[in-house]
Symmetry: C2
Subunit: 437 residues, 2 copies
C-alpha cells in the first residue's frame, strides 16, 4: 500500500485467500482503507467483506467510509446470507437507503432474507443454490450446473423441484458424475431428501447437519417450497458460537470471545454480572447475620462457612453443566424431566454421603470434636443433595418454560446454593446448639 | 426384525440414512443385533458402524458379537479414519488379530493411521483422497475422478502431486467443471495450496478449516509429501468435542456430554473433583481457623465471608474463561503475556473499585458501622484485583508451560481465590481490630 502502486498492490493482494485479505484489511488505518476501496472493485471488496469477523461493530464504520453506490454494489455482490449479516448491524434507515440504490434483483433477495428471525434457519440460509426440474437428463443438469457454478454458494448438491417449486429430490454432484449423461434425473435423484423448516432453530439445524454429515441442507416453507440452502461453513460458525455462548454464561460474562480493547471495555462486560452477584451475596450475608447470636456463642462455626458454601456451589455447577449440555444436544426431550431430577437426586445423595463421611472424619481428627464433625458432615450431605437437585432442576424448568437454560449461569446457581447451604448449616447448628458449647 | 423376513428388513433398513440406521441399531437387544449381522453384508454394516456415536465402549461389545472374519471385512470397508477410531478403543492384541485376517491393503492403510498420536491431524485424517499428476488434462482428471468417486471420502477437491508424491497444487471439482476438457491441469490448479502438518494439533486444524471455509484440508509430512486429507465433517466433530471439553473443565466434571446410565455412573464422574475440592476447602477452613481469635471478638466478620469469597470466585472464573478462550482461538500468541496480565489487572482494579464503593455504602447503611463498611469495601477491592489477575495468570502460565490451561478449571481458580480473599479480609481485620470493637 505504501508503494502507491495500484497494479502491484492488486497483484499481491488478490493472490491471497479472502480470509487473509480480510485479516489484512481490518488491521489498516482509516486512510489506507480509503486506498483499498479505491484500488478494488465492489466485487473484490465483497469477498473481503464476507470474511471479516465483525467484533466491534466495524461493518458500519467501513460502510460509512465507502461511496454509497460502491457500498451498495458490494453488498449486492456478496452472498446474500453474508450481506444480510452485515445489514442486520445497521439502522433500518441505512438498510433501506442501500437497498434503494442496489439493483432490484439483489435488493429483493436481501429484503426477503431480512424478514427471518435471528437464530432461525431462515436467518443463516442463502438463496444462491442450484435447482433443476425432474424431467431432465444428467447431461442437461451438468450444463445448468456449469452456468450457475460461478454464482452458487455450493454446487455439490443440486435440488430437484416440481412445477410448483416444491422440493421433490436431491442429487449430489458425485452422483451426476458417476452416471451416464443420458440418464434421467428422476432415475438417479434421491427422493428421501432431508430438509429443515425456515423457522427451525439454528442449533437444531446444526445438530442435523453434524449428525448426518451433510455439506448443505435445503430450507423449505410450510408448504414444502424450496426457499434456500444452509451450507456447512455457516453451521461450523453456529456450533462455535453456541458453544462459546454456553461457556460465557457458565462463567457469567457477556461475551467471552469478543476482542477487548482494554481494561475498560473488559470491565464493562463483566461488571453488570458482578454487581448483580454482589447484591445476591449481600443477601447471603444478611442471612448469616440472622444467626449472629449462634455465631457469637460458637465462633468456630464460621470456619466451615466457605467449605460448605463452596461445595454447594461446585456440585451445583456440575449438575447445571450436565443439564445445560443435555438440553443443548437435544437429549432432554427423550427422558422425562422427573426421571432426570430423580437421577440427579440420587447422584447428590451418593456424592453427599461420601463427602459427608470424609468431612466428619477430618473435622473430628482436626478439632477433636465429634459433634462438630457430625454437624459439618450432615450439613455437607444435605447441602450436596439439595444443591445437585437445584443445579439440574432450575435449567430444566427454564427449558420447559422456553427460557434459554444457560442464562441460569454458574454463579447464579452458586449463589442460590450458597443461600441453601447456609440455611441448612446454621439452621442445624442453632437446633443442636446444646451439643456444641 | 420381528417379521423374520430378510428381504423386507433389508428394503426398509437400507433405505434409511446411515445415521438413522446406526440410531436404530444401537437401540437393539443383543439377539436382534445378531439377526442384523446376519442380514447385512460387511460393507453395509460398515456404513452403520461409521455412524455410531460410541459413548459407553460399545464398539468392543458389537465386534465381539460378530464372526471375526465378518468384523475384519467390515473394518476394512469402513473409511480408514473411522476404522481407526474404532480400533483405538480395543486392546492391542485384538487390533492385531483383526489386522491379520484383513486383506493386506486395508490393513496397511489402517496400520499407518494407528501410528499417529491422538488429537493430531494424523489421527483424524483419512487416506481415501483423490490425487493426480500435473501433466494431465481436465478431461483425464475427470475420468480418474469418475473411477475413484465411489471410494473417496470427498471428490470435491483433487490434489496435484509431483513424481515424488509432493503436494504441488489443488483443484476443486467446481474448477474442473467450468473449464474446457482439454485444458491442462497446470493451468487451472491453484499452487497456493493450504495444508497442515501431520503432527499439527487438531484444534489448530479446526481453526484453519473454520476460518478459510474449506471442505477438506490436505495433510503433509515434514518433507511435503501428501499423506491424507481431513474433511469438514470430522472438523465439525472436533469443534464440538473441544468446546464440550472446555465446558466440562469449567464445570469441574470429567465428561459433561457422555450419556450416563444413572446416579452411580454420574457420581463416579463428579466425585474425584468434589473430593479434591473438599480438601482444598478444608485448607481454606484451616486458614480461617487461624483467625479464630479475631472471629471470637468480632463475630459479625463471619457474615461477610461468603460474600467476599464468592466475589473472588466469580471474578476469577470470568478472567479464567476469557484467558482459556483466548488461548483456544489462538489469540494468545499475538499479544505478550505481560500485556494481557496488565489488562486483567486494570480490569480487576476498575471492577474492584466500583464493587468496593458499593459494598462500603451498603454495609454502612445496613450495619451503621463505617469502619466495618470500609474494611469490607477495601477487602472487595483488593480481592477482586488479585483474583482477576490470578484467574488470567494461572491459565496463561500453564499454556506457556505447554499444559492444557483448561485444566485450571473454574472450581480450582475459585478455591485459590477463596484462600486469597480470606487472607486479605482477615489479615486486614486483625490489623485494624481496634476500630472494629
Amino acid at each position: 500500500l505504501s508503494s502507491q502502486n495500484i497494479d502491484e498492490f492488486r497483484d499481491v493482494f488478490l493472490e491471497q485467500h479472502p480470509y487473509d485479505q480480510a485479516k489484512f484489511f481490518v488491521k489498516l488505518e482509516e486512510q489506507d482503507r480509503f486506498t483499498v476501496y479505491h484500488y478494488l472493485s465492489p466485487g473484490e471488496m465483497a469477498s473481503v467483506f464476507e470474511n471479516i469477523e465483525d467484533e466491534n461493530d466495524q461493518y458500519e464504520v467501513y460502510l460509512s467510509e465507502m461511496e454509497p453506490t460502491f457500498a451498495a454494489q458490494m453488498l449486492a455482490q456478496m452472498y446474500a446470507d453474508d450481506a444480510v449479516d452485515v445489514l442486520n448491524e445497521l439502522d433500518k434507515d441505512q438498510v433501506a437507503s442501500y437497498l434503494t440504490i442496489m439493483d432490484d434483483e439483489a435488493a429483493e433477495e436481501i429484503r426477503e432474507l431480512l424478514h427471518y428471525d435471528e437464530y432461525t434457519a431462515g436467518s443463516i440460509m442463502t438463496t444462491e443454490f442450484i435447482s433443476i426440474h425432474a424431467n431432465q437428463t444428467v447431461h442437461s443438469a451438468m450444463q445448468i450446473l456449469k452456468n450457475e457454478a460461478p454464482n452458487a454458494e455450493t454446487i455439490y448438491y443440486i435440488y430437484v423441484i416440481d412445477e410448483d417449486k416444491k422440493l421433490v429430490g436431491v442429487i449430489s454432484l458425485r452422483d451426476l458424475i458417476i452416471n451416464e449423461p443420458d440418464t434421467m434425473i428422476t432415475e438417479v435423484m434421491n427422493e428421501r431428501v432431508y430438509s429443515v423448516s425456515v423457522a427451525e432453530d439454528q442449533e437444531e439445524v446444526a445438530r442435523q447437519m453434524k449428525d448426518y454429515n451433510f455439506l448443505a441442507l435445503p430450507v423449505i416453507d410450510f408448504r414444502g417450497h424450496l426457499l434456500g440452502i444452509i451450507t456447512v461453513d455457516d453451521i461450523v460458525d453456529v456450533i462455535d458460537e453456541e458453544a462459546s455462548d454456553d461457556y460465557s454464561k457458565l462463567a457469567a460474562i457477556s461475551d467471552v470471545d469478543s476482542n477487548d480493547g482494554g481494561p475498560f471495555s473488559a470491565a464493562k462486560k463483566r461488571l453488570p454480572w458482578l454487581i448483580i452477584l454482589l447484591f445476591l451475596g449481600m443477601f447471603t450475608a444478611s442471612l448469616i447475620g440472622r444467626f449472629e447470636e449462634t455465631l457469637d456463642k460458637v465462633a468456630i462455626l464460621a470456619v466451615f462457612i466457605p467449605l460448605i458454601a463452596g461445595m454447594a456451589g461446585n456440585t451445583g455447577t456440575q449438575a447445571l453443566a450436565v443439564a445445560v449440555r443435555r438440553i443443548a444436544v437435544g437429549n432432554a426431550e427423550e427422558h422425562s424431566t422427573f426421571r432426570m431430577i430423580l437421577t440427579e437426586a440420587g447422584t447428590g445423595l451418593i456424592t453427599g454421603t461420601i463427602c459427608g463421611i470424609l468431612v466428619t472424619l477430618v473435622v473430628f481428627v482436626w478439632q477433636g470434636d465429634i459433634f462438630l464433625g457430625i454437624l459439618v458432615g450432615i450439613s455437607i450431605l444435605a447441602t450436596l443433595t439439595v444443591a445437585t437437585i437445584a443445579g439440574a432442576f432450575i435449567p430444566l424448568v427454564m427449558h420447559r418454560l422456553k427460557v434459554d437454560p444457560a442464562v441460569a449461569s454458574g454463579p447464579f446457581i452458586t449463589t442460590i446454593n450458597d443461600i441453601i447451604s447456609i440455611l441448612i448449616y446454621f439452621g442445624m447448628a442453632t437446633l443442636f446448639m446444646q451439643y456444641l458449647i
